[in-house]
């Protein structure tokens, strides 16, 4: 018993030490660098128009990625779990491709397709549509990188739920959309919420793929991570770390929100 407690204690100390060094220290350093000269100068840097543009662009890209990937993710997870069709397992693997490919590589692919020398680049350019080094390119790159999250959080849950509830709804006379809206999605709402927040966090923080297609035009095609890099390379340390603090706070609050449903259920259980 005594020895067991000592082992538990050692494990506890080691885990917290690792978490402190690897996970807690970096954000702490970022915040302390940002506040090096006090909170006033830090807030002052946020008034820079390029910085504000970067924040807006990041929010826009996140909203579009979340909307598109939620819709796609729900339909893909539905297809993958409720139907058996040829190529199903191949599709399951393909959905995870963005997780295994380096974001830089996927960014390069978009450039290859839509760049001025790319396959479709010239034709689109003539039609007046700019993809590479413009906002649409950034959107595409982010969409690609964040595609797996909603699907991957939904699939295991929906697989475990099986088709019975949907079939019961069908026999009660519900149509396709009624089943999706009233039975499937509410049944998977916790996993869906979690997938959406993961997508949000990832979309806000994406650097590699966006960096390749963006062209780093300040005020136009710089998202927050890219802007942070520009500021840092330009020796504007306070501005860089302030922006970094803001970005980290946004992403972390998204991740923290994930546990809200869990708290709610726990609270409800206590009430009951």
């Amino acid at each position: 018993m005594g020895r067991c407690r000592v082992k538990t204690y050692i494990l506890w100390v080691v885990s917290w030490a690792v978490i402190a060094i690897v996970l807690l220290m970096p954000p702490a350093v970022v915040v302390s660098e940002a506040l090096k000269n006090g909170i006033g100068p830090a807030l002052e840097t946020l008034k820079d128009p390029d910085g504000i543009a970067a924040i807006w662009l990041t929010l826009e890209v996140s909203v579009v990625s979340v909307a598109v990937n939620t819709l796609f993710g729900v339909l893909a997870a539905w297809l993958l779990t409720k139907y058996l069709f040829p190529g199903r397992s191949a599709l399951l693997v393909l959905v995870e491709l963005p997780l295994s490919i380096s974001p830089v590589v996927s960014g390069l692919v978009w450039l290859l397709l839509f760049g001025a020398q790319g396959w479709w680049g010239q034709a689109l350019e003539q039609a007046g549509i700019h993809v590479a080094f413009a906002v649409p390119g950034i959107m595409l790159a982010t969409l690609f990188v964040t595609l797996p999250y909603v699907v991957r959080t939904l699939v295991p849950l929906m697989e475990q739920q099986g088709r019975d509830a949907e079939e019961a709804a069908m026999l009660a006379g519900a149509g396709f959309w009624q089943i999706l809206w009233r039975v499937t999605l509410p049944g998977a709402r916790v996993a869906l919420f979690s997938g959406i927040l993961l997508t949000t966090a990832r979309a806000m923080g994406e650097f590699g793929a966006v960096s390749v297609v963006s062209g780093h035009i300040p005020g136009l095609t710089e998202t927050m991570p890219l802007h942070i890099e520009s500021l840092y390379n330009g020796y504007q340390t306070v501005a860089a770390f302030t922006m970094a603090t803001l970005l980290a706070a946004m992403a972390m609050s998204a991740v923290l929100l994930r546990s809200v449903p869990e708290w709610i259920t726990r609270w409800r259980e206590k009430q009951a």
Partner: protein
């Protein structure tokens, strides 16, 4: 609602293996039919085909004489209870029950008040009057079962399909729900088709038993008929414990191969040749060794269970269970020798019954 199935064939997806092999079944309005058979016999497949949850390669299905093509034709005419109930976990019991009414197009949908009244009526019918606000997770197995049944009945279907509805319940709840379901069926004037692998349950609750094996219907008969005249050796074995004696029919007599079993007279028109005599343990009697001629076998007593005295007769290569009603008082044997009288056996040849 009557159900008429003609020559239904369904293959396992992507293969040519037949899950339903040319199945035809006629269920008149008001009937209570049980589909029984070992697992893999195709009972659930047939039930799902009637519900329209799976498509079939060929054959036709008529509900009340009308051909059904799609889900819309079936919706609200069929109530289906799933094996694991398939309640919607995120809805209250009341919302689960009213689901079939809630999803109706606005023009057809009853008012909120009417829906609430209908839900309460069903909750009362299910003996769950105060459970409307609870979530399914908080209910016991028997309560979930009744909520699933209430949900299936909410739209007032004429046909009730039940897939192993008692599978997950403990024996006492099973027995009460079983008789309660039967009375519900009679009271609401439903047509009910029930799938079960428990033949005793089927015999108790249904007017008609359909025995399935390997995707085909082996026999479709009333419980009495099935008990008296099983069509095949499989049906005989499936419906309860049985013993098989191999032997030969010759000159109007069946003579068993084994020693210690008495020959018995059979109908004269039965062609001579090898045959199997099948019999239930409670149909065998033991003749005392000093009353009959022939080789005797050792008989040992196994005690009394459910009003039957259980004995084991030790033949040359196997033992045969013999159950004798306790109240008869005769033939009380402890450790002794005797001969088995199997004259109440049914004769089968090549698996098919012929007497």
């Amino acid at each position: 609602m009557s159900v008429l199935i003609q020559n239904l064939v369904r293959c396992a997806p992507g293969t040519r293996k037949r899950l339903l092999n040319d199945v035809s079944l006629d269920v008149p309005t008001g009937a209570f039919v049980a589909l029984v058979g070992p697992s893999g016999a195709g009972k659930t497949t047939l039930l799902r085909a009637i519900a329209g949850l799976d498509t079939c390669e060929s054959g036709s299905l008529l509900l009340d004489g009308q051909k059904v093509e799609n889900m819309q034709d079936r919706a609200r005419k069929i109530g289906f209870v799933f094996q694991n109930y398939a309640l919607f976990p995120h809805m209250t019991v009341a919302r689960n029950i009213s689901f079939g009414l809630d999803v109706q197009p606005r023009a057809m949908r009853p008012s909120q008040g009417e829906i609430a009244a209908r839900v309460q009526e069903l909750l009362d019918l299910m003996q769950l009057p105060d459970m409307g606000k609870a979530y399914p997770a908080r209910l016991s197995g028997g309560q979930r079962q009744r909520v699933a049944l209430a949900r299936a009945l909410a739209t007032g279907p004429g046909l009730l399909l039940l897939d192993e509805p008692f599978g997950a319940l403990d024996p006492i709840v099973r027995r009460t729900i079983r008789s309660w379901l039967r009375s519900l069926h009679d009271r609401l004037g439903l047509t009910t088709i029930l799938v079960t692998h428990d033949q005793e349950e089927a015999l108790e609750v249904a007017d008609r038993i359909v025995v399935m094996q390997q995707g085909s219907i082996m026999q479709d008969a009333s419980p009495e008929e099935l008990d008296k005249e099983p069509a095949t050796a499989f049906v005989m074995e499936f419906l309860g414990e049985s013993a098989t004696f191999r032997g030969v029919v010759q000159d109007g007599w069946f003579t068993p191969e084994e020693d210690g079993v008495l020959p018995f007279a059979v109908a004269a028109e039965i062609a001579p040749g090898p045959a199997d005599a099948m019999i239930r343990p409670f149909e065998i009697t033991i003749a005392s060794a000093d009353l009959v001629q022939g080789q005797t076998v050792p008989i040992s007593s196994q005690g009394v269970r459910n009003g039957y005295r259980h004995y084991l007769a030790r033949l040359k290569d196997r033992t045969i269970a013999v159950h004798i009603p306790d109240y008869t008082g005769e033939n009380v044997l402890s450790e002794s020798y005797g001969v088995l009288d199997i004259s109440r056996a049914r004769l089968f040849r090549d698996g098919k019954r012929y007497s």
